[in-house]
Point group: C2
Chain length 333, copies 2
């Protein structure tokens, strides 16, 4: 029986988890019980949300315990099964953890990956939580209409890049905000944004004013910081703001201060909505079906940034928050 | 021909308009032209929104010019007419200004007041913009459901008191926030709130926690200050926040700072919406019809706070912001 390598939580971070908060350990694999199966993980996902999963502050779910395998989405292939619903060779994606092997009874499997013509890794990115988040958050809460100006923060990220392209498919004018010349070029050349703004390069408010002369109809936000403050001051009447992440905030305890939003909301009769992808779990396949067909037709592009070896996992969350990745960050194991 | 007494804007306030920003002048009434009619105003309205109408900062409409009659809703009776649509004795409500007499061509009339069995003054309060605001803002944006906990700031005010009672009619549990023991008593005894919190008396967060053990499903806000900060920290999943006014903010230039709202919005999948009653102008009669029938049935109570004489008008906006009125503030002329 092979040995399982896994990343465990060593200590609880107060802000963004760093490499030092994790350990890599080796443990023997247990025998399979009845109604269990064994998955050989091939890709481990790295997400901004993982910060919340290890935080002591109440979030959506119980935090990962000290000494436990780090919770993560992973994708792999069933290599042994005593479960009638899963056969050897099935490709699965789910909460399989930062580890080489996962024993599962199916309860932590998000879905079987049926897109056999497409790379398995996509099930963790553009056809995974990132793409599904982009799809529902934009379409259900952002309510884009043809001709709308849609501004996306973290525009080159795995969620943001899909949001920009789906908005474009809806006939919107898209403006991406991202950091650095490389990502600006990616936004323009790969993800088809009409305009891309480098927030590190100068006055975001002035750049937005130039890029959005009729105001901003939809703001898709992953940052919750000064970029949002600049956007909210330039909303169009009836604007929709989708809150999908808070990447620019290092700690919410105590909550950081910012300019009050009420007057913008009132004068522009704007709507701000928070999005959690798990609320749309029952419609996952609807989104994946659409996203996959756009990928096959070349209408939805994606970028992956894959590191080889589980030893890259512990530092990967912090790298994500520093914006070091270009594309969906995955660990191949 | 009688002389018209009117309140004109003397100078432009930077914050809340005070008595010193206005003058009272007397001018002769002009002869009526064809398609004009003359209204003898009986009641002049005083609204928080009037601050915006005299502000130099772009709001919804062109600001009132220096030397011009102060814009206001007023209600009165047609006493002379050369307009086929308006006859002597018709009761009207509209943007007729802070003055004894208004010459109109009908374009500034909001509606004819058809509820002949009810006092004309109600057309400026519970059956006017205040009631219509409460009706649409709560029902269209707050989306109350039976069993929801609905928290209302400025709970004893002319909008808030109607919101609390309509929420109660919807089967909600209602919690009012107001200032001072007299208004707390009004909230409980007159407006039927299940709980009333005096924000001047102590820890609003602790009082909310006691009054809303399952969290807050709907927050109807007229304040945009520290009360909101306390409420947002106690939202229930799926909460709706209606931004209807910003009474606690003396100036938006520069915008005051407050704790960032994004994490609350995200974790609770909450929705915050700004409301402007003029967006519902085409449905005004729908709301007035419902409100009037609730008033007749004793299901919707209101309170008026009427001052006699136009000389009370100039200081009335500031008094409103100081919370000195008990009920809808009107000037009888």
């Amino acid at each position: 029986m092979p040995v399982n390598r896994r990343v465990i939580l060593k200590s609880r971070p107060s802000g963004i988890p760093q490499a030092e908060h994790f350990d890599i350990v080796e443990t023997p694999l247990p025998d399979l019980s009845d109604r269990q199966f064994l998955v050989r993980n091939e890709f481990l996902s790295v997400e901004p949300a993982m910060r919340g999963w290890v935080s002591a502050v109440a979030n959506y779910a119980t935090p990962v315990g000290i000494g436990e395998t780090m919770r993560s989405f992973s994708a792999g292939t069933v290599i042994a099964s005593r479960h009638s619903g899963y056969a050897e060779g099935d490709r699965v994606m789910g909460m399989l953890g930062w580890q080489h092997y996962a024993v599962s009874d199916g309860s932590n499997v998000t879905r079987k990956v049926m897109e056999s013509d497409l790379p398995l890794s996509l099930s963790l990115g553009v056809l995974g939580l990132n793409g599904v988040t982009a799809y529902f958050a934009l379409l259900e809460l952002g309510l884009p209409r043809p001709g709308d100006t849609v501004v996306v923060s973290t525009a080159a990220g795995s969620v943001g890049s899909a949001v920009g392209q789906i908005a474009k498919l809806m006939g919107c004018r898209t403006v991406g905000i991202t950091g650095g010349a490389t990502k600006v070029k990616m936004c323009r050349d790969e993800f088809g944004y009409d305009e891309a703004i480098d927030y590190k390069a100068g006055d975001v408010a002035a750049a937005l004013k130039a890029a959005c002369p009729r105001g901003i109809d939809v703001y898709f936000d992953n940052t919750a910081g000064s970029i949002s403050d600049a956007v909210l001051a330039q909303l169009a009447v009836g604007a929709r703001i989708v809150i999908c992440g808070t990447a620019s905030v290092a700690s919410w305890d105590p909550p950081p201060q910012g300019p009050r939003v009420e007057r913008h909301m009132l004068v522009k009769r704007a709507r701000m909505s928070g999005f959690l992808v798990f609320d749309y779990a029952h419609r996952y396949e609807e989104a994946v079906g659409r996203l996959a067909s756009w990928v096959r037709d070349g209408k939805l592009r994606y970028r992956e940034d894959i590191l080889d070896g589980i030893e890259h996992a512990p530092g990967a969350i912090a790298e994500l928050y520093r914006g070091e990745n270009l594309g969906k960050r995955l660990i191949r194991v």
